[in-house]
């Protein structure tokens, strides 16, 4: 069961992660500009602090979103869902539908603008009490929720 191909997330998820990255870099950029304008550092180094937001921008806007997108994926079979993630630290989680307590589909403002959503599965276990699958197209997330819910209901009858 570990050989099946993983379903990729929605490509718009990369864009959302890029914007989130940009928001992370923004305070550093403002700080660096402020330092430059104030002229804290001597002449040739006045704009040296800009290196920090520049490096962060390459990391958080350029590199990480692509790497994250590539490392994430999921696979739904008829009785379980497998969620894979992690660039440096891999995690590969399987939740059987029969152990799902309840389900959430969540959207932040950014996610809503790009039409994607997070599917969150809650279990009764102490570890992995909730497993989040981000970056799904909203319609897909809702469809998956309905499918898992239908499965839970059918089993319980």
């Amino acid at each position: 069961m570990d050989t099946e191909p993983l379903t990729k997330l929605d490509p718009a998820y990369t864009t959302v992660m890029r914007i989130e990255g940009a928001l992370t870099v923004l305070p550093f950029l403002i700080g660096a500009i402020a330092l430059g304008v104030a002229g804290i550092f001597p002449e040739p180094w006045t704009w040296a602090p800009m290196a920090v937001p520049a490096i962060f921008a390459v990391l958080f806007i350029g590199l990480l979103p692509i790497k994250r997108f590539r490392s994430r994926g999921f696979h739904m079979s008829d009785d379980r869902v497998r969620v894979v993630k992690g660039v440096m630290f891999h995690a590969d989680t399987v939740v059987p539908f029969s152990r799902v307590q309840h389900l959430d589909v969540e959207q932040g403002p950014l996610e809503r603008a790009f039409g994607i959503a997070r599917l969150i599965l809650h279990t009764a276990g102490t570890h992995n009490a909730s497993v989040t699958l981000p970056g799904l197209a909203h319609a897909d997330a809702v469809a998956m929720r309905e499918e898992i819910r239908a499965h839970v209901k059918r089993e319980s009858l």
Partner: protein, 517 residues
């Protein structure tokens, strides 16, 4: 509120009136220390005239009246109801809170008696929901008889509510012979003799920490200043005199003095361990009743806990470095309910394996025997860990040798060797097994512990790998277990995948709603 009254469903009731006495005493006890402080500071001023003392006395009386009034108000404003579908509790003098706990969410009902309520014949009833500690429903206090009845009533209601097919199969049995089976059979009990042996192994130096702490807190009560005395002792050379005196004693006397000091520490440690054991586990008794395991224990605070067998998620068998040599082990269970703040319930804290096996069988688990197919974690994992952990002491040892501190270097080298040997033994002794119904984990080297979880009662499976683990080809396998943790670090990837798919197949085959509740 007469003791003989039967519990009516749907009737609002108040807790026992004697609760007033308990609460007043408790508040007064807590107020004692601040009042003491106040008295102390007044007397310290030296200006405690008659009027000031009188005012203070009047203030004290007013405060006491206020306490009684407050206790009465909170008693008057607190009521509870055993309803058709839930237990309700309303309380609060000005801001009211109403809590409702549905029967099918109640994990167990426990009775607890602290010292003062016990003298007055009162108990505290706790309805545990598995929400973890704080959010459970607590009735303090009702009379002992009322507590017993409340528990029986609630348990009957709870069973009627969440009747699953498996429960239904058990019910005719308990209904046909309720009184006779109520007591159940005793699975395990500890008499004074067993407690004494248990106490010997519960060596604890907590009392020294408490003494030190108390010395810092209450130092102002001593007639002399401890720290000034100590610094005088150092400055005036009295320490030198004391040292001279000691060196004058000769070698034999010095050794005797050292042995004496060590002996005192050991005796005090054992005595405090003994006291703690006797206070906690006095008259320990575990019964198998039709409703589940019933455990009673305690000298000053008596507790009486019933745990439905079906709610047991996993078993833990623990031991200690020394007690293991004498064949003593402790059995506890993992469930959603909490026990004195710890998530595991001790059900046989000090027993032989021969005594533990039948209890485990009652709980629906089998202890692994020689036929279990034990597997080990990846040797690479322990090799990497040994290198990472021994790195700093080894470097330090090398530095010490180079700079000429040979004894220090030798000590550090010994530490390095010990760490490396420890990892080797961990690799040899830590193991896991998978049988058709259970997942078994055995951890530790000098004091091994065993965890047995029911495969069907797991909730999720996760395989994680850090960068090093990915490079070296091992991983950590984690199971989602209700109320506890079950992790297997450093497994080979193939082994972990095999365990995962085997466990997942058993989990997926049984729906959560069909799990025995």
């Amino acid at each position: 509120m007469t003791a003989a009254a039967k519990i009516e469903v749907g009737e609002w009731r108040r807790v026992n009136k004697l609760t007033l006495v308990v609460n007043t005493l408790l508040t007064a006890g807590r107020a004692l220390i601040p009042i003491g402080f106040a008295l102390y500071s007044i007397s310290d001023d030296g200006g405690a005239t008659g009027i000031a003392a009188l005012l203070f006395g009047l203030g004290g009386i007013a405060l006491f009246a206020l306490m009684i009034g407050g206790a009465w108000l909170s008693w008057y404003r607190m009521r509870y109801r055993i309803g058709e579908n839930d237990v309700r509790l309303e309380q609060g003098i000005i801001s009211r809170s109403a809590r409702s706990v549905p029967y099918d969410r109640i994990q167990d009902v426990s009775l607890e008696q602290k010292l003062i309520p016990r003298i007055l014949g009162l108990v505290e009833v706790k309805f545990e929901t598995g929400a973890g500690g704080k959010d459970e429903l607590t009735l303090s206090y009702v009379s002992e008889a009322e507590g017993e009845r409340l528990r029986d009533t609630v348990r009957e209601m709870a069973e009627g509510e969440g009747a699953s097919p498996i429960d239904a199969a058990h019910r005719p049995l308990s209904a046909s012979a309720p009184a006779a089976q109520q007591q159940g059979e005793t699975l395990f009990a500890m008499g004074p003799k067993r407690l004494f042996i248990f106490g010997l192994f519960n060596f604890s130096l907590v009392v020294f920490a408490v003494l030190l702490g108390a010395m810092q807190q209450l130092e102002f009560l001593l007639p002399f200043d401890l720290w000034d005395y100590l610094s005088d002792w150092l400055r005036d050379g009295r320490i030198v005199e004391a040292g001279k005196a000691v060196s004058g004693y000769g070698l034999a006397a010095k050794i005797i003095a050292a042995i004496y000091a060590l002996g005192v520490v050991i005796v005090v440690g054992m005595a405090s361990g003994m006291v703690r054991t006797f206070v906690r586990d006095w008259e320990f008794r575990l019964d198998r009743t039709p409703k589940g395991f019933r455990r009673r224990r305690g000298l000053l605070t008596k507790t009486d806990v019933v745990m439905p067998v079906q709610r047991v998620q996993a078993l833990v068998v623990k031991t200690g470095v020394i007690r293991r040599r004498f064949g003593w082990h402790g059995l506890s269970v993992i469930s959603l309910a909490q026990d004195n703040g710890s998530s595991n319930h001790d059900i046989a804290p000090f027993a032989t394996m021969a005594e533990i096996a039948p209890i485990a069988r009652e709980a629906g688990f089998t202890l692994p025997d020689d036929s279990a197919l034990w597997r080990r974690a990846s040797s690479d994992y322990y090799f990497d860990r040994a290198i990472l952990r021994a790195f700093f002491p080894a470097t330090a040892a090398l530095l010490a040798f180079v700079t000429g501190f040979v004894p220090v270097g030798l000590a550090l080298a010994a530490v390095t060797m010990f760490i490396a040997a420890g990892e080797y033994f961990l690799w040899r002794f830590v193991r896991h097994a998978l049988d058709p119904e259970q997942v078994i984990s055995r951890r530790g080297w000098l004091a091994p512990s065993l965890r047995i979880a029911n495969r069907v009662k797991l909730h999720s499976v996760e395989i994680t790998q850090g960068p090093l683990a990915r490079w070296r080809g091992y991983c950590t396998l984690r199971f989602g277990l209700a109320g506890g943790r079950l992790a297997f670090p450093g497994l080979g990837l193939e082994d972990a995948r095999e365990m995962r798919s085997a466990a997942l197949n058993s989990i997926a085959a049984v729906d959560f709603a069909k799990l025995p509740k």
